[in-house]
Symmetry: C2
Subunit: 253 residues, 2 copies
DNA sequence: CGAGCGTTTGAAATCGGTCAACAGCAGTGG
DNA sequence: CCACTGCTGTTGACCGATTTCAAACGCTCG
């Protein structure tokens, strides 16, 4: 792990291309400049290095600048589960804010770099800038929502649906960042995918083979090429919660 | 649904017995008084009534005052999943703050009453009161954490473990509110439990029977009496994430 | 008292897990 | 450059947990 003082870090939040995924979203230029004052440093991680561990005291949250990280929880009995994969612009560590301790281990899947956001300074600044306060709440809420979708997948989808969903989700996140939606490299192993999706590594492998046989995609080790996006979406099934038609007058809030 | 203006509502946050689970936690008496000014009204719900629906615009979040509610998500294809059961003192609606729309339907499992917390006023007040800002973040973080635990259960536990966990979780929440940890009435049906835990209603029923045969508990319809808390905990298995021993010097945050 | 719902129980089918063997690629060192 | 080794991923056979289908039971409420 390699700490870089902010002074030596040439890139600022106010000009960062990831702004639209990250903390500065929706802030005016002046407000975004203020954020630069609280990003005290950045951290470089080599593949496999750990950013924080569960139960570590939490003084900061982290914005992914470069690379990919996974978060995973280790249980008393040694079992572990991957709880998320984090791409550039996404913020790590929010789940532990309440208890001032991290709830998961964060580990780099490839050489990565994260911005350190000191929490106390963020909270101070959020009191000055309603737009930042709002964005901070938005990001926490987004985190809740992401867990919620993952939870829905684990609770109500079959393995095949979960995996199709996972691939589509990755695809759209890459696309949002300007990469190809149809071809990308997985940064994680089959084991990590399986852990994340609540299935065994063999099941992941078998399903990927089945998708390939069905002409939905081509996969060679970690290189994925999606051939039939619609077909995959059809398998993914009930991806999104329904847009409910509102029975008039039946609800007030 | 029955709205009650604050003027007619005798109970205040500052004196509410649920304060230690709810918004006022950790606030000084003066700060808690301030909260009273933003709780504009309360809402009474009859069993089965809906407080809000997914996609409803979100202007307020809700503290459960009396009763129990469930939140559930309906998918495009009609399938639905229960995402949470909410006891007095718990706050509903946080997941939707970011998008200003509710992500789930909230529905009363029994006659209930909730406090309406106007979001814009809460955010204004949070800028004035650091302790409230902090508590608000704590509550959102707690929500993240709750989803996280549920997610871990769905992703890495067998049906038996999930159900044992669920019962223990309910038990401790009742106990925290001053009710018996060993005997309580479920407010939800087998169907709702199954949906929440990602299993079929028949599986719930069979497992409950198995627990009864094993001398772990007695259950008659919705009345549960836990006989062997330790035995149940043993089945629940890896309930909690491990308290990781920290290898010295290997992490900075 | 009967209807209807929620719950329990049984039997058969299926999905996914477990165990085991093997293939393929990567890195190491001779 | 090529064996050797180890790790990751694939595939097959079998097993078990959970689902599915079906039927019966027993509250609760009109």
């Amino acid at each position: 792990m390699n700490r870089i003082p902010a002074a030596e870090a040439p890139n600022k939040c106010s000009t960062c291309v990831l702004g639209k995924f990250c903390l500065p979203l929706g802030l005016s230029a002046e407000d975004a400049d203020q954020i630069d004052t609280i990003i005290t440093e950045r951290v470089r991680l080599k593949k496999g290095e750990t950013l924080y561990r569960q139960n570590d005291p939490l003084n900061a949250v982290f914005g992914v600048r470069v690379g990919t990280l996974k978060t995973l929880v280790v249980f008393q009995d040694g079992r572990e589960q991957v709880t998320g994969f984090h791409l550039p612009g996404e913020i790590l560590g929010l789940g532990g804010i309440g208890e001032h301790h991290h709830h998961a281990n964060a580990c780099a899947l490839e050489d990565s770099e994260v911005c350190v956001i000191q929490l106390s300074q963020l909270e101070d600044l959020a009191r000055q800038l309603p737009s930042l306060q709002h964005q901070f709440h938005r990001i926490m809420s987004q985190e809740i929502n992401q867990y919620r979708l993952h939870l829905l997948a684990l609770g109500s989808m079959r393995a095949e649906e979960r995996l199709a969903n996972f691939l589509l989700n990755l695809s759209s996140r890459f696309a949002a960042r300007g990469y190809s939606a149809n071809e990308f490299n997985l940064r994680m192993s089959r084991e990590e995918i399986g852990s994340y999706l609540g299935m065994q590594i063999e099941t992941v492998s078998r399903l990927l083979s089945r998708f390939t046989e069905g002409g939905l995609l081509q996969i060679k080790l970690r290189n994925v090429r999606i051939i039939d996006m619609d077909g995959l979406a059809r398998i993914a099934g009930h991806t999104a919660p329904a847009e409910v038609m509102q029975p008039a007058g039946s609800h007030l809030y």
